[in-house]
Every structure is written in structure tokens, then in C-alpha cells.
């Protein structure tokens, strides 16, 4: 069956370090992969989109990689800050579809 996996355990890091979150998938051939941030009690907010023919995408302190051979995306936040504490969701889309398939998210805690 199709599956998207994100680490369900919270990631706890010290301020200033790089946070790395993982999104693994099976039985998909996504054309796009997206990352969202979700704060408690709020809707997700779009961060980055990466296409299957792109290896890496950057936006300010954020970096996303997409390895279609490993079926994995890594999401990095460099120089992390307590304000980066949130749940981060990855989402996949097939090229032919309007639909996004979401992972259940990984909670990031950045300690001051």
C-alpha cells in the first residue's frame, strides 16, 4: 500500500543547530513534494515545493532535498531558533492529481 512516513517522535535540538527532518515514502512516484509548517491550533502554512527533477531547493534558512531513488526528502533548518518550534508536514502529489497526500508530521522543539 502507499505510505508516507515522518518520524512521529519529536525532534529536540539546541538553538543555533541545524534541524533535519525526514520524509520517506513507498509505492508513490510523486512529481512534487511539499513541506508545510503547522503551529498548534492553526492550519498548515506552505513552506517549499520541490519537483522530481530537482535535487535541492533553498529558501532563506530552509533547504529541502528530494531523492527519488531513495524515496526520501530531507528538510533542513539551519541556525534554528525557538520560533521554529512547530510541527512540519510533508506532502506528495502525483503529476496527474489535484490531491496532496500528507504525512502525519514531525514536531520540532528548539531549546533556547
Amino acid at each position: 500500500s502507499q505510505k508516507i512516513e515522518q518520524n512521529s517522535e519529536a525532534l529536540n535540538i539546541q538553538e543555533g543547530k541545524t534541524a533535519t527532518l525526514t520524509c520517506n515514502y513507498t509505492n508513490y512516484s510523486p512529481a512534487y513534494l511539499q513541506w508545510y509548517r503547522q503551529d498548534p491550533g492553526r492550519g498548515p502554512v506552505f513552506l517549499l515545493l520541490i519537483r522530481e527533477n530537482e535535487k535541492e531547493k533553498r529558501k532563506e534558512r530552509l533547504k529541502v532535498t528530494f531523492d527519488t531513488t531513495l524515496k526520501q526528502s530531507l528538510f533542513h533548518i539551519t541556525a534554528s531558533q525557538p520560533a521554529d518550534s512547530a510541527t512540519y508536514l510533508c506532502a506528495l502529489a502525483q503529476d496527474s492529481s489535484y490531491k496532496l497526500i500528507f504525512g502525519s508530521g514531525t514536531r520540532l522543539l528548539v531549546r533556547p
Binding site: R42, G43, P44, F46, S97, Y98, F102
Partner: protein, 113 residues
Amino acid sequence: DVKVTQSSRYLVKRTGEKVFLECVQDMDHENMFWYRQDPGLGLRLIYFSYDVKMKEKGDIPEGYSVSREKKERFSLILESASTNQTSMYLCASSWGGRALEQFFGPGTRLTVL
């Protein structure tokens, strides 16, 4: 800024009641979506619409229906609420085309007693 608003932040209903959740977006987006979010299960798509009066089932449409009479408004209807429909409901919208970034509303936390 794109704004997606939902009619209520919190709602408490009784089993068997008909429930309406409304979503409005102000950016002329073609696509609109309804999700529910439960702990450990992530966001699951209930229904989506890519045009006025058009709708398609998502992954968990049972017990729900939708209505899109105007481009900016997408309603989710629970015909007869049940306790297993207690959840966070999220509406989203996006530009026309496929698999583009989605803009989410703040969510409605529905409790069915």
C-alpha cells in the same frame, strides 16, 4: 495575502444533528479542499472541488457531502453527525492546476457528543 476563513473555530453538536461547516477564500482560487486531521493520522482528504458546482471524493467521503455554488465558498455537510466525526476540520484552497501549494484556513474543532 491569501485569506481562507472558516465559519467557526469551535463547534459542539449532538449525535444525529446536521452540521454545516463553511469555508470562504478571497483570492479567486479555482481549487478548494476539505480535510480532517486526527492525531497520528495526519490530514486526510474528504472532498475537493476544482470548479464551481464540481466536486470529487477524496479518501474518506463517507458520511460527508459538499456544496460549491460560488467560486469563493465551499461547504462541508455532515448529514447526521456521529461521535467518530469528532475532529479538526481544515479547509484549503489553491490556484488552478494540479498539486500546487495550498492555503489553509484556521480549522474548526468539531466535537460530536
